[in-house]
């Protein structure tokens, strides 16, 4: 049962990923469609982060002392100041875990 689920999930995810890579699919992208898709990285990655930051443990947390929110703000500031993705990721994770232990 579990193995069946794992393989079926694999098939579902792969189909999502592969569907539009198939050349026999009759589809041409207009310039408007391309412009729209140009927003896919900021739009989708932000949507993935939103609930992790504001709904930790599935509970709404809009407090300014929410460690996820503070950690995210630190990450924004660091990457804009240093332009280093690696440094800002590592530093913001460190700060997040410190904040979490203080504020919890």
């Amino acid at each position: 049962m579990t193995w069946l689920l794992i393989f079926a999930m694999g098939a579902v995810v792969f189909l999502n990923r592969y569907a539009f890579l198939e050349p026999r699919l009759p589809l041409r992208l207009s310039s408007n469609a391309r412009q729209f898709l140009g927003f896919a990285v900021p739009g989708m990655l932000t949507a993935i982060c939103g609930p992790i930051i504001f709904l930790p443990g599935h509970q709404l947390d809009l407090s300014p002392l929410n460690p996820y929110l503070l950690g995210a703000l630190v990450a924004v500031a660091l990457v804009l100041l240093t332009r280093s993705v690696l440094l800002s990721m590592l530093a913001s994770m460190l700060i997040f875990f410190l904040l979490r232990s203080w504020l919890a």
């Binding site: 990923r17 539009f20 900021p42 989708m44 932000t46 993935i48 982060c49 990457v79 690696l86 913001s92």
Partner: protein
């Protein structure tokens, strides 16, 4: 799966022309920071599988076959809660539907590749892969570079899952450590430098607000609906201001 991949990588290194090998290595190096940053998330995926009474092989199988962090974690949670096969599959379909968008966006560079490249790079098409390869056009796109990115990330994800399985068998409650923040740290570092004009600010703001609201309402399509609305808002704003993306 892993020894097979190591063999593949070795074969790539020895049999391919030097330019391809170099592009592969450049891709592998480009994804290295993100591969390290995915460690906490991979640990979580491995340890949660053990906590939900999956066998070590099943936990590893999820990462090796499904290779989609968020979907794996949600499926494990549902399995623990006694959900049936069909509802887990439907949730997986909705949760990972942003990949349809990534595929659509990569279509100009990937759909004219030979079948085995389409299948291989299609399997490796993750959020991180997309973030690093989506800005190349047909002239600049190098499939070996993309393979270096995808394969390195795949190996890292599976190694960290393995570490999570081993740790999860020994340390309980790894899921309460806030390991999911690593996704926020990674994605924020990828998004923030892209926010250079009003249209992108609008896109990010709408997407953030909607993702929280829809998740609060327990929509299963929350993420992709919020992402699409954010993209639409950015697109409309760009049309009005006439700015460049």
């Amino acid at each position: 799966m892993l020894p097979y991949l190591a063999k593949c990588a070795a074969a790539i290194m020895s049999s391919s022309p030097p330019i391809a090998r170099q592009a592969f290595l450049h891709g592998a190096i480009a994804i290295l920071p993100l591969s390290l940053a995915v460690a906490p998330w991979g640990l979580l995926a491995g340890s949660m599988a053990i906590e939900a009474n999956l066998s070590a092989w099943q936990g590893q199988g999820l990462s090796a076959i499904v290779f989609a962090g968020a979907a794996q974690l949600v499926a494990i949670g549902m399995l623990k809660g006694g959900a049936n096969l069909l509802s887990i599959l439907l949730t997986t379909l909705l949760l990972t539907s942003q990949h349809l968008l990534y595929g659509l966006s990569m279509r100009p560079v990937l759909s004219n590749q030979p079948l085995r490249w389409r299948l291989g790079l299609g399997f490796l098409l993750t959020d991180e892969f997309f973030a690093l390869t989506s800005h190349y056009d047909q002239q600049q796109f190098n499939r070996w570079y993309a393979l270096g990115i995808g394969l390195t990330f795949y190996v890292a994800w599976n190694l960290f899952t393995l570490a999570g399985i081993v740790l999860g068998q020994n340390i309980p409650h790894l899921d309460q450590l806030g390991l999911d923040f690593s996704i926020v740290a990674t994605f924020v570092a990828l998004i923030a430098p892209l926010v250079r004009n009003l249209a992108t600010v609008v896109c990010v703001a709408v997407s953030l607000f909607c993702s929280v609201l829809f998740s609060y309402w327990h929509w299963e399509t929350a993420l992709v609906a919020a992402g699409l609305l954010g993209m639409a808002a950015g697109f409309v704003c760009q049309k009005f201001t006439g700015g460049r993306p």
